[in-house]
Amino acid sequence: MANARLPSMAKHILPYNLAKVSWCLIGCALWWIFLAVPAAGQTLLNGQVADAVTKAPIPGATVRLVKGDQELGSASSDTNGRFLLSCELPRADQPQNFTLALEHPEFLKISLTVQTVGGKFTQDAYGVQLLPRELLHCRPEKGHCVVIGYFTPPMETAYTDLSRRIADALNFDLLTRLQKFHLQSNLQPVFWACEEAKPRALTHGKYFAQALKADVFIWGNVKKAATGVDIRTVVSDSYGLFELPLSSINQNVDLNDPLAAQLHPETHAAVVAALAAGYEKEERFAQGIEATLLADKLLADAKTKPPELIDEIKKIRGRCQARLPHQQLLPGEGK
């Protein structure tokens, strides 16, 4: 029955809609041609902008391409964070550098250098991440860094400054140990409290570490306990050492007692292991080895010794030893 009805409906509908559809198609084609095919002398730059911590796309970010004082083109990111910027580039056979500047009221401005060769951008698409504005003061300008973020409080208890107190405790607990093997001052980590850094998911810890260019990001929560509070500490690193963040709990502590800010030895070991990974990345292999030996010593005092951490420490040390020039002093290791 449906089939019998269709031809008469088709006779009535199709001619009208076919025309409409055809015009739509032609219009779309023209639109695409207009936008996608640059006019003579025009180049397209495409990319996507996202939140450095949550990885969520950022709509409404302003994107500008600049050369010196001259703005060559601008665009806005869409709901998916994507942008397509059309610009007229000066003719040049040599590679040229331009500045791509992105801004959004809720994020910190960023500028990056993009290059063209033969009038075309060297990358098909540019992925850019913006740091939320509230994290402006969340790390020192340079150097190794451990950021201590927010600790979610229990509803009933008011407390102040746990991040800073943990940073102060780590200053003594770890800096003294790192200085014992004469780690140069420019390689020593700064322990930086940042209450504004509030992860909303376990994976965010790693993204915070990467976004803030920190070796380690520590955060956690505070819960009411039978006596005092339980403080859960979660450690994430920039280097992918830990598949899941490392977690430990200080139980039944008085928040006013300095004990509340003392982290467990396995947490210290995890922090130092991440620093070792950072030194390895910078090809400072001697320092990497020293840091892994320190991490081992710290783990020796720990009640729980995560096997994945022990394993990673050994691997870092093995890789660093393999790259040391001292390796050539062994027999059979010819130059």
Partner: protein, 511 residues
Amino acid sequence: MKMRAFRFIWLWLVPLFFGVIGPAEAGGDYSLEAAYSQIMQGGEYRRHLTGAKHRVAVFSFEDPQNTGRGNDVALLMARHILFSNSYLPIGVLNFKQDLAPAQPGDLSYFDKVDRVIKEEKVTMAVWGRVLPLGDRLLIDTYIQLPRETIKEFFRLRISLPKAMGGKILQAHIRPDRIHVQRISCDVAQQMALIDFANFMRELRQSPDLNSKVVGNIPQDKTFTIVTRKPDWIQVQIRGGSRGWMPEIIDFEGLPLFAAASFASGVFGFAANGGGYVKQGPDLTPEAIAVADQLKLLHGVYTLTRDRGQEIIRRWIGPQRQTGRDPSTGIDYGEGNPPGGAAFANLQALALIADSLWKCGRAKMAGGFSREEIKKTIEETLSRSLPKKEADRISNRISKKLEKIPANIMEGNLDDFFLDKIDKELYTSVKGEKAADLYGALKEAVVAPIHDGCKLDPGYVRDIATQLAQSSLEDPGNVDVLNNLAVLFDYLGDVERKNLAETIAAQVSASQ
């Protein structure tokens, strides 16, 4: 409050006999910030207590919760070091204020102490932290030895025979930044600490616990030890009064005593050119390792004999001791030994020295004249000492030489030097000069026997391989790298010799 005073009867009698009581003195409350600012501004640094030959800087212990115990602990440390070594011309400098970084990234702790003590040219520094945790007090104690102190006082050298190149193998103690102790004091121990510290600040009219207290030693004043009686010393405050205080160096019931004793022992080792550093269950594995290394640094004899080998085996190899010894309570830690490749390096020196000794002994089997030896000793000493002193010491050595039977002489000339001349020199001629004279005597008498000794290259290569392996675990150990350069030089391995020297230079420059 129960006290027990340690009697140094022979110590104060000997200086009285010779008319010498070491002008030991202590100065108080120098501002660390002022010292540090002076250094950062550049220009000439004004040192403190420059009249003392050996100086130690004691810093107020970090006290982030402002318990007041930081000053008390520092005071007890300073008093212990002073009283334990008061027969020597020593100075104890007391610094106050924080070592924690004022801003993230500022110089702090060991680095900050290093900066100040380098300018002050002190022999040793002591610092630490006190932290209340619940009703307990956590106390961490550190000592820090400047590079110059390590080079001068905490080293062992072995000269290779001329046939092997004549170069020097050496070992220095490691680490130089030592975590000596961590203790957790209960309430009773905290009260005892406060009482002792207050007691040690009081000056009395006469050497009697019942005598009137005439005042406290102001924290910012320097005082000098004037005289002593059994269990008491009299001090003179510079520009102030004079009074008596008990010569207490055992804080009974306080495990802090172990850290103070260790610090005093290490300082005494430097000031005396040797000595004994007490070990115990209240010290960290690191402190125990340093104390063991100091035993080995006494001389090649200790290093190569059973006692030395037993010490080395505690730390490296299949018989590595771990955890607490049930009989002594001493904690040897786990895993890699403190000091990195320090024990591996000492073992390399021990193996070489032992082989050279056996080689020398074989050569001495024919025996040689006592008269020749006596003459060589006289000539060597007279080149370095005034005639009267040279004659006195060589006569004493010769008398000892006379008592050794001929058959023992043939086999044990080296032992004789290592044992008897060593002690004789350090009693008569202290410190660095004794070490130089010992080396000269050994060079003159023993070396001609050893100079022809040449070890099997295969054996030396095995030692070098083990040492090179240890350098992978302790890449910053310059002794290991320098020693490898010497060994590779003997083996004719120019490439590895040059590489070891290059790496050693790079590591030294970076430290």
